[in-house]
C-alpha cells in the first residue's frame, strides 16, 4: 500500500511539473499598422517619392520628414469612424510645401490576444476618399487615386492601400 501511495505521489508530481510548462501565446509582431504603397498612376509600378514627406493627423505628426519613400506604415485611430491624413510634400531645397488629404473610413474592433498580452485595435476599411490636385513643376506629386488592396488592418503587415500618384513630367 505504501508503494501504491508513493507511485501516486510521483505521478502527481510529474503531472504538476508538466502542467507548469506552458509558454506564452503573445505574438512577436503585435503592432497594428496601415500599410500604404506608392505607385505611378500610369504604369502601376512602385515609386519612391523624392520630396520630403510628412504625414499628420488631428493632433500629431505620424510620419516626420521621410525622404525617398516607397511605402509607409501608419497608426490608425482607436475610436474614430474616419481618419483624415494630411500628406505634406516639401521639395528638396524648398521651404514651402503643398498637401494632399486622405480620408479613410473604417470600423474599430478591440482585439485581445490573451489576458496576458494586452489589447490591440483591428480595423476594417470601408471607404477611402482623397483631395484632388494637379501636379506642377514645383510640386511634382499629386494623388490620382487610391485602391484598397486589403481592407483588414491587423498584425499581418500586408499592404492595405495602393496610392497612385500623378507625376509631373
Amino acid at each position: 500500500m505504501h508503494l501504491f501511495i508513493r507511485k501516486i505521489l510521483y505521478l502527481a508530481a510529474a503531472v504538476a511539473i508538466m502542467a507548469g510548462c506552458n509558454g506564452s501565446d503573445c505574438p512577436l509582431n503585435n503592432t497594428v499598422r496601415l500599410v500604404c504603397g506608392f505607385y505611378s498612376a500610369g504604369s502601376d509600378s512602385s515609386i519612391a517619392i523624392s520630396d520630403t514627406l510628412t504625414i499628420s493627423v488631428r493632433d500629431s505628426v505620424i510620419l516626420n520628414r521621410s525622404v525617398a519613400t516607397a511605402t509607409v506604415s501608419l497608426p490608425m485611430s482607436y475610436a474614430g469612424d474616419a481618419d483624415t491624413l494630411v500628406f505634406l510634400y516639401t521639395p528638396a531645397g524648398s521651404e514651402a510645401s503643398c498637401s494632399d488629404t486622405l480620408v479613410i473610413s473604417k470600423s474599430n474592433e478591440p482585439h485581445i490576444v490573451s489576458l496576458e498580452c494586452g489589447t490591440s485595435v483591428f480595423h476594417n476599411i470601408s471607404a477611402v476618399s482623397h483631395s484632388s490636385r494637379i501636379p506642377d513643376p514645383t510640386y511634382r506629386y499629386a494623388i490620382d487615386s487610391v485602391a484598397v488592396s486589403n481592407s483588414n488592418v491587423n498584425f499581418d503587415g500586408q499592404e492595405n492601400l495602393k496610392i497612385y500618384y500623378r507625376l509631373h513630367q
Partner: protein
C-alpha cells in the same frame, strides 16, 4: 543440539511465511483471470463527483462542478459520461483584462481496466474522452487611450461573445476502495484542443470542461466514487 534444531525450525517457518503470500497471490490471479472471462457483460455501474474541480473553482480563478457515471462491462471496459458546469472569472493583474464565463460541458469516453486482477476493487485505468462545450463569455478591460488622437479612448466591454470547443483527453487513473461501495480515485489527463470557435475580438481565457485555453494541457481530477 536443541538450539540448532529450534533455529532450523524458525528458519523454515520464516521461509514459508515469505513464500505463502506470493503463492496465494499467484493462485488468486489465476482464479480471477478465469473469472473475468465468465463475468456477466454488465456488472453494475458507478457515479462519481470531481472534488478537485470544485476546490479549484472555490480557491482559484476557474474550476468545474462536475460529476459523471460509468458502466462496468466485465470489469474491463467502462463507458463513461462526464458532465458539469465550468466557471471562470479571471482578471490579469498586469493588464487588468478580465474574462468571465459560466457554461455546461459534456465528455463521452471509455476507460479500460489495466489491473491484473480485474475484479479487484482497486483499479488502474487508461482511457479516452471526447469533450464538447458551447458557451458565452465576456471580456472586459480598461479603456484604451489613443496615443496619436489625443483624448480619444476605446472602451473594452465585450459581452455575450459566443464560442464553442471540441477536444480530446487521454486519461490515466487509479481508484481504490475505501469502504464497501465507496471508492476514491484520481485521474491525470492530457488534453488536446481539436476545434475552437471564438471571435475576432479575442478568445475566451478558459474553455468550460477543458481548462485554460491552450492548444494542449495537463489536468487532473480527484473523484469520489460510489458503486450502484
Amino acid at each position: 543440539m536443541d538450539k540448532r534444531i529450534s533455529r532450523y525450525i524458525i528458519a523454515c517457518i520464516s521461509s514459508l511465511l515469505l513464500i505463502l503470500p506470493s503463492a496465494h497471490a499467484q493462485l488468486s490471479g489465476l482464479r480471477f483471470k478465469a473469472e473475468s472471462d465468465t463475468l456477466p457483460l454488465i456488472m453494475g455501474g458507478q457515479v462519481f463527483a470531481n472534488l478537485a474541480g470544485a476546490v479549484l473553482w472555490r480557491f482559484s480563478d476557474y474550476g468545474e462542478l462536475e460529476g459523471g457515471a460509468r458502466l462496468n462491462m466485465r470489469c474491463k471496459y467502462f463507458p463513461t459520461v462526464e458532465a458539469g458546469v465550468g466557471i471562470c472569472d479571471k482578471t490579469n493583474d498586469e493588464t487588468d483584462l478580465r474574462c468571465k464565463t459560466t457554461a455546461p460541458f459534456l465528455r463521452l469516453g471509455c476507460d479500460y481496466n489495466f489491473s491484473r486482477i480485474k475484479t479487484s476493487p482497486n483499479r488502474i485505468y487508461g482511457g479516452i474522452r471526447l469533450g464538447y462545450t458551447t458557451y458565452k463569455y465576456d471580456l472586459y478591460g480598461p479603456d484604451i487611450s489613443d496615443p496619436y488622437w489625443q483624448g480619444s479612448t476605446l472602451p473594452i466591454r465585450l459581452k455575450g461573445i459566443s464560442g464553442n470547443a471540441l477536444w480530446t483527453e487521454f486519461v490515466f487513473g487509479l481508484e481504490t476502495q475505501v469502504w464497501r461501495h465507496f471508492h476514491v480515485g484520481w485521474t491525470a489527463r492530457y488534453k488536446r484542443r481539436l476545434h475552437q470557435k471564438g471571435s475576432t475580438n479575442g478568445n475566451s481565457y478558459y474553455i468550460p470542461g477543458y481548462g485554460k485555453n491552450d492548444a494542449h494541457l495537463f489536468t487532473g481530477t480527484f473523484n469520489l466514487v460510489f458503486d450502484i
